[in-house]
Symmetry: C2
Subunit: 209 residues, 2 copies
């Protein structure tokens, strides 16, 4: 068993995207680095964690490498995804057809608001939260997406964990509390904006000094 460093895992999806768009049959670490906007030594080291898939003097076979990266990322099977919280963002994500770059099937939409339940979004109908646990069993959701307001996010996470979901994508602006075997990824607009603000103020200061 390998043990790919987290920093490398974070970059694999980017490499994959670049590889899929690349037209020639082989690619050098230099070229891939340029497309992914990283250092070429980093590309080589990252890819070396997957195995020795390059050819010295030539580069990497694009199709083969694409396949290896996909495999490492677990993209050879589809994952069932559910979304809890059908406000603006939940609706937008549900309708966002090309979910990821395929491989992720949104198979359930849930909301606590009885007024929203039954409404159709794309080709799915919003279901009540009471139906959640049973739906996890029958439809095998692997990934739960939380797009509720902050106030309802922890409760949603608890519900997901109880139903056996071990992978959560959290869009609510709150730090979730979950058992350590559950993987939570935060996608946090307000945090990102505040970081923008930090670097903006900082460069404003630099201009003055």
């Amino acid at each position: 068993m390998k043990g790919i460093p987290p920093a490398t895992v974070q970059r694999l999806p980017i490499y994959l995207r670049c590889l899929r768009e690349f037209e020639a049959p082989t690619i050098s670490s230099e070229r891939l680095a340029e497309l992914a906007r990283v250092n070429s030594a980093k590309v080589r080291k990252d890819l070396s964690f997957l195995g020795s898939y390059g050819t010295r003097g030539v580069g990497y076979d694009v199709d083969h490498l694409t396949h290896q990266v996909s495999r490492e990322l677990g993209l050879t099977k589809d994952w069932a995804v559910c979304i809890v919280g059908m406000g603006n963002l939940g609706n937008a994500l549900a309708r966002y057809g090309g979910f990821g770059e395929r491989g992720f099937d949104v198979l359930g939409l849930f909301d606590s608001d009885a007024g929203k339940v039954g409404r159709k979004v794309g080709n799915l109908r919003i279901e009540p939260l009471g139906a959640f646990a049973k739906a996890v069993k029958s439809r095998g959701f692997s990934i739960g997406v939380i797009t509720t307001p902050a106030s309802a996010a922890q409760e949603s996470a608890d519900r997901m964990v109880k139903a056996g979901i071990t992978s959560i994508l959290n869009f609510a602006p709150i730090v979730l509390s979950v058992p350590e075997e559950v993987d939570v990824r935060r996608v946090d607009l307000s945090t990102e904006l505040q970081i923008c603000s930090f670097y903006l103020s900082r460069s404003a200061g630099k201009r003055a000094s």
Copy 2:
């Protein structure tokens, strides 16, 4: 001049959120660490980059610390934000009233599609991209949010850069190419899902072995 490490900057918005929700007048690094789900030594080291705002034997004054963190993040002034690409996601973000935790004013919505131009979203009207450069000058947008499809994202970024924007929040699944003085933050759903997929496959393997 300080030089706060990037890893610390990333956590300041989280501390800020925890502080704002905290009720008591003082808080220990231990308690704040628990809320932010990090190690307490990390909290103390992070906060020490801002200055010595704690009191030994007591903890941090919540109001004072909240103020200092806000100030450091440049949240004492408002920032004007514009959104380019008014599809599902752009619409959702535009309507997402509590943009960040306030301090970010969405003052412009743009789309290249003439069919969308003029449509009202919240209390703004969608404008054509041709009006972008002039709007940056008159309304002083500091932060540009890109919610176009991947195919239009680079062009949008170029337009922003040319108009003088130095801070971009990119939701499009593509690595943007910008001059180095421009700060681009990626918020990438498909990347996050693929990372979820990686850890899901990995733990499935662990269960088997």
